[in-house]
Symmetry: C2
């Protein structure tokens, strides 16, 4: 990458990043069925702290963690007759605990991967067709049997496992790619297709799925849409509301809503599919997805910078928008504390010798490597000349690029090694984004909760700066009620004052439902309740979660 | 643009397009308050044919054109007391025909610019604030007075004028830009801000509005969102469902739904704003819009090609996606017949000497002129070498670029000079897009309706190829019932078989409502009716239009 070094060679030291054996990505066991990165960026606390509370053998029941939740007595209890009926309408085996000891088979569907939420469902159904989903829901609705739709079960807010005895409808048996049109880019698949499978299929056809996230090896396309997943490509390709062309959804009463449009433009009536994008399975089950997939970029660059202040991080972002413009595909940041933790805990050589208060990861993707290199080079020179960044390196190959990305993506796992972590995934107007970290730290310090002998190790921030999405993390030596009390509602009230969002990309589920009022006003919450009631009058779809019923 | 000529110079003749006085854009009277281009791309017939039916002085009443429409007797009739009440809650003068002769003032609000739809409203309100809109709707809902929201009144399907005596709520007095954040690109404004005003404001701040269309000098941002307008930038920046960040909407009962989010990511509940995008004012009135605006591109190129077949047009599009990729900002096409008509009627010098069955307009926008020129040059060489295009020119300056754009944008106006035109704005999977033109022509020829002495002059096609959006036009010497009978439902049935859309970007309004079933199945139509009923149980919002009530 010669062109980049041209004029700024004296100040910008070229990367000497070796292909470490222990890069962060590689440190994650390959067999792990969900990615730690996406995983760890959850809200509320995750990971069992080492010192005071050793990991229990079985995950605590959600009903015990949230004693305010009570089973809704409107719902019927599963009977052997129900199980027999399901067996008659499902072509795949029914996993059930009424007449057999199926606890080992039920467990992975009852508990989430974070070991934080667990229900007691005695029945898991894995329909193979949309018609089977329809028959199941029609029956459950008539019988008032509550259900929880389940994709890859990689969610972070307890949305994809039962709270009590809800029947699990798992979509993993619906995994066919239905069609792809390389001219328009319209890709249509079953909801149960794994994201990485979809992306690999598209890669062979020189396209990409417009969404990418750490959990891609396990998460389902349908689950991505149901949770309006954000991830790493949003900055460039926008949200799923812009890329999803059509959906096939089974409504609670069994009605199949076939809206699997493959057209880019269609102005014929209310665009109902958007209600189901991000609805977390509370008004229907998505069974098919049609989505517009962009051309795959031929060239990619990854760069890493040290920056002296958050003001300069913002300046760098403005410059990137101006100068990298159409080739900018990621603008991620982390603070010095996050960087210290990720490098200390992963035996990763620091790309930059000196310590800096902030670090930035920038990725470009374009169709012409030479042009991209030149744009990046000019941009780097400008940043150095104007002293917006203090130091920086550019990856010279795929391995170095992976290592840089590992520094960003590995933060969450590294934090977990410190003990427990209180985590918040929030959106904030850029100007005030980092103030949330400093204000929270000051607040906790005033409460005497930070430092040696105190529960809180530090307060760190990182995230998708280009999307205004901060991951606020508070690593603790041990969980302590005083920390929780100091954090909540402080964090939510702080966000409310700045019109921030209490959930940027992870949704509401069980975890955030009680805090919805901090991001949405009464009118909005009332209108949401109306929608829930309209589509799911009996309330059987993924109950106890998301938004209050009307 | 030297680089582009490099190797292909012998085959690719450089543009010699002079700055004609009579370029198509200039031929449109500057004072005309809506752009002919957008205007003419409507569905159904427009323009009064010269020979058999001279233009009437007054526009025919919609009630007379559509005798099947009857005034809904659920709605109250306007009284002097109502007018007095409106005067007490509106800070701007009330235009009313009960106690004054206000017909001249009412007429521009009762009739559409195409002179095709006309109602008989006796009251036009121009609220200045969201609170005033709220008070008006609350009162109208209680009194069961029907209303029609009105923006720039540049629509093409009769959606923005009353059908009978509905009260007009015109948003032109709500025209403040509320805020702009140059870091995130979030722009917030009143619904009545004119699109061009918004775009000019953003231009001064090095950003663009992510939507552009011919009517930009008159249309309102709120109207754009209410009709989910498509236009010229959709290929690059996507639909409004992807770019709109938040909305402020007044519901029929006067409730103000404040969802003016400026965050890029916010996963806190059903994303209700999408219901109002493209709802054509049938469930609420949009009073404020928050939208994500991209950085303005420093460089722009416009090229024009002659192509020998529709297959090659598609090949060129695939190549453009591959090679121009991130800088491709428009891919428009027209057939030979459309090109003949636009050049013949506008005294425009042909950019290419020979005639071709198809022509393409390609635009690139990027941050680096040199890079864009080189990409375009490589692309052109490839097209010529592989004989995908037969001939082509590239604009060397802004005037030439405008002239090329004029050839595309002037088609509609040129067609109108032939007499009348039957027009359809449709979406079709790309592979079969042009078959609609040839099949329709064959169909009309078989019916003996084409050629000298027959009503039909020709069947022509053009449009936003990159978006799969065809404008099918049938210019006629005079309107004849036999042509209408031959076209409908033929055109709609043809679309239905190919899962096309009967309205790509112009919406439903009065014109397309009866044909909705050709693009949406019974379930979808029933679900749409539910939404209408949920938000507007008395049906007062823009009645007789859009979708059937439940």
């Amino acid at each position: 990458m010669h062109s980049i070094r041209r004029q700024a060679a004296s100040t910008l030291r070229q990367a000497k990043i070796r292909p470490f054996c222990a890069v962060v990505r590689a440190a994650t066991p390959a067999a792990q069925r969900w990615a730690t990165t996406q995983a760890g960026e959850s809200g509320a606390r995750t990971d069992t702290p080492k010192e005071k509370a050793p990991a229990p053998k079985q995950v605590k029941l959600t009903a015990d963690s949230y004693p305010e939740l009570k089973r809704d007595e409107r719902f019927a209890k599963l009977t052997k007759e129900d199980v027999e009926h399901f067996k008659s309408i499902c072509s795949a085996p029914v996993i059930e605990g009424l007449s057999t000891d199926a606890s080992d088979d039920l467990e992975p569907h009852n508990a989430d991967w974070m070991r934080k939420y667990r229900g007691t469902s005695q029945c898991v159904l894995k329909p193979k067709t949309t018609e089977e989903v329809s028959k199941i829901l029609k029956y459950c609705n008539e019988r008032s049997l509550a259900v929880v739709p389940q994709g890859g079960n990689t969610g972070l807010v307890g949305g994809s496992v039962p709270v009590f005895d809800e029947i699990v409808i798992n979509l993993s048996n619906m995994s066919n790619i239905r069609s792809f049109d390389p001219v328009s880019g319209a890709f249509v698949c079953d909801a149960g297709v794994i994201l990485e499978v979809a992306d690999n299929y598209l890669a062979e056809r020189n396209h990409i799925f417009p969404l990418d996230l750490g959990a891609k090896g396990s998460c389902h396309v349908g689950g991505n849409v149901a949770t309006n997943a954000g991830g790493l490509r949003l900055l460039r390709y926008g949200s799923l509301h812009g890329t999803v062309l059509g959906l096939e959804v089974v409504l609670p009463d069994g009605t199949i809503m076939n809206n699997l449009n493959t057209l880019r433009k269609d102005n014929t009536g209310y665009d109902l599919k958007h209600l189901f994008i991000g609805a977390e399975g509370t008004i229907g089950i998505i069974t098919g997805v049609s989505i517009l997939c962009p051309q795959r970029s031929a060239a990619k660059n990854v760069a890493f910078f040290g920056v002296e202040s958050y003001e300069k991080v913002q300046e760098a972002y403005i410059k990137a928008k101006e100068q990298l413009s159409e080739i900018l595909s990621a603008f991620e940041f982390m603070d010095g504390a996050a960087h210290e933790i990720v490098t200390a805990h992963n035996d990763v050589r620091r790309p930059l010798a000196d310590q800096h208060p902030f670090y930035i990861v920038i990725e470009t993707s374009g169709s012409n490597k030479e042009h991209d290199d030149e744009k990046l080079g000019t941009f780097l020179e400008d940043l150095m000349e104007k002293e917006i960044v203090s130091d920086g390196v550019v990856a010279e190959n795929e391995t170095q690029a992976s290592t840089i990305w590992g520094l960003r993506e590995g933060i969450s796992e590294s934090l977990s090694k410190l003990g427990g972590t209180y985590k918040y995934d929030v959106s904030i107007p850029l100007k005030e984004l980092y103030s949330m970290v400093t204000d929270t730290k000051t607040h906790l310090e005033k409460a005497g909760l930070v430092g040696e002998g105190s529960p809180v190790v530090d307060v760190v921030g990182y995230g998708h700066l280009g999307d205004g999405n901060l991951h606020l993390n508070i690593p603790v030596r041990y969980y302590d009620k005083s920390v929780e009390k100091a954090l909540e509602p402080f964090v939510y009230e702080w966000l409310e004052k700045r019109s921030g969002s209490i959930s940027a990309e992870h949704g509401l589920g069980v975890a955030k439902k009680p805090f919805l009022k901090y991001s949405k006003n009464e009118v909005m919450i009332r209108l949401m309740g109306q929608i829930k009631k309209l589509y799911d009058p009996k309330g059987i779809m993924n109950p106890y979660k998301y938004v209050p019923e009307a």
